[in-house]
Amino acid sequence: MNDEVTTALDRDAAPFRRLHPLSIILKSLSMLGRNIVAIFVLHFSLFDQNFFYTGLAALALISLVVGVTALIWSRFTYQVTEREIRIKSGLLNRNNRSIPFDRIQDVSLEQKLISRLLGLTTVALETGSGGGEDGQLDALSRADAEQLRDTIRDYKAGLRAAATPAENHQSATDTPPLFAMNNRRILIAGLFNFSFVLLALLGALAQNLDFLLPDGFFDPRSWIDAFPEQDTINAFGSWARIGGALAAILSLVLIGFVSGIVRTFVREYGFRLDRTDSGQPGFRRRRGLFTLTDMVMPIHRVQAAILQTGPVRQRFGWYHLKFTSLASDASGETDHSAAPCASLAEIEPILEECAIRPAPADLVFQGVNPAFWWRGTIMVSLLLTAIALGTGLFVHAGLFGIILLAVPVGLIKYLNWRHHQYALTDSQLYVRSGWWRRISTTLPLRKIQTVDVSQRPLDHPLDLATVTIGIAGGSSIRPLKIEAIQFAKAMDLRSQLISRTASSPTAG
């Protein structure tokens, strides 16, 4: 009852506000960007490359887009009261959403390149209600956005102040950052971020612009037909041909490296992680070259720490530290990146902030049953044998060679088995997995939500089981698992996990 009265008062008190008018331009531009391809297609097809018609169509499109966007803008209002934010939106279907400050997990400010030019900032409010943004204000002026964030922070600080004396606000810029990356470090991170994304992008571009390419460019038969006619290729010696192939592979590798470095620079430029103590204690992360993001994550929301590395990276001592948290990262990653490329010595103080202890050096990790690799290898080998027999007998004798694929598959499975280990201490569970993508998860036991022991058909004869641990946040496709351990051991491990979870009711 009392609550209703106060919220009614709040409702009258705070004015309804609109987003910044320039956001109309911002939204229109992004919508036009999506439709520009259509204009090009029309220019070349329907309008027969007549610039006048195309111009008319473009003008019509622009006015339509701007008109609709302006209409949407005029119908979008928000109101910041003392304890919640209300958002009214929608042209025909009016949507009235209120988000209590209590439920907001983290507030992130994001500035894309165009928003930066216009001086605008997008505010994203995460409540962790699963999937998608919960409240997005796209976009406010930089000052308004920061004020909104401070309002929410101050509200939470006020809650804490009731229990403890209010802390004096200190600006995060004065204190040294917990972790920051200079350009050299970003370059190193980029080297290990080898990816074929750029290549895939070029491929996709080529596929979309195929009207520029000769007919049958993607038809392998036309290439096979073309090859014997190319005397030039035959004229080269076999060494030259091998050299050509090597050059092709090298250029691919180079593209992979370059795209990795470019991607990393775009995302991580100016990376800086601070501890903020105003409001709730939290991590504040700022990064980005074109798109600036500024995210604050309360420390008590951290569910688990993930250290990711690779066989080469580990040799150089570089690790990627991520935090699992209920609110997903704005960049679409399931875990919050806290230090993209750091040494263990740099990571330790960050972990200390959220009371997670790295694995002690003398901690004995337990391996899992070797069936982890040989069972899978046998299954794959059987499948490959069937395929090899089928294709080898009926298509071409050379395809019998498919069976040789079992060797690398088996090898990788063996290496993965060697790297799948776990250890349990009084308060934390450590799980390592993967040989190429080495992930070691440190999970405080009080953050465990559910524990499954499951057996698949092939587990029964060997009496093996998989322990799956439900955590708030993280990937739902790739949950934290300890695979292929003895059933009795799995049950024992689970009872230990659960007993320590239940005995510490003050989680969170």
Partner: protein, 181 residues
């Protein structure tokens, strides 16, 4: 229909009437309310009917267009339907089990793909008791608990007597706390 609901609190007696329900199948956990077996059977009958209709259509088409032996599709389908209706319900039913501990709920299900889940009560965010039209006929309810976890965030336990499910909900409700994460 209401008969089950009123008798439901003493589901142990019902379970005791199940002569061939050996505890070895579900590790000695509490079995589901026995009418659940009938519900599984009803569902299986519906599925079997659907299967038989499909099989008859396929059979007719094959017979009309290709000279195949009659019964090539229908006989295996009938065999499978009989298996579904008369053998599977009991086997599925006896592999289910649950246990209300002092601080946790345990749900066991399946045989070939066996899953055994434990949810500590203080991790539960909210609880549903759901009931479909068929379930209502048998006086059954499904208990659904939601955790904040991303994996397995929804744990369902079907086949509880409605009164039992409501009792369990009340028990768990006492343990729910605000702002766990």
């Amino acid at each position: 229909m209401t008969e089950h609901a009123s008798n439901s609190s003493n589901s142990d007696q019902f379970a005791a009437m199940e002569t061939d329900l050996s505890p070895s199948y579900n590790q000695g956990l509490t079995p589901l309310h026995p009418p659940q077996k009938s519900l599984i059977r009803v569902n299986m009958i519906l599925r079997a009917l659907f299967l038989l209709v499909l099989a008859s259509v396929a059979e007719t088409l094959l017979y009309m267009h290709h000279e195949v032996q009659p019964g090539m599709v229908l006989i295996p389908a009938t065999f499978f339907a009989i298996l579904q209706v008369f053998v599977l319900p009991h086997r599925i039913y006896r592999r289910w089990g649950y246990d209300m501990g002092d601080e946790q709920l345990r749900v066991l299900r399946g045989f070939l793909w066996q899953t055994d889940t434990i949810v500590p009560f203080n991790r539960i965010q909210h609880i549903d008791v759901a009931q479909g039209p068929l379930q209502r006929m048998f006086g059954l309810s499904t208990l659904i608990v939601h955790t904040a976890g991303t994996h397995n965030s929804i744990v369902t336990l079907p086949g509880l007597a409605t009164a039992d499910a409501e009792d369990m909900r009340e028990t768990i409700k006492g343990h729910i706390r605000q702002d766990m994460i």
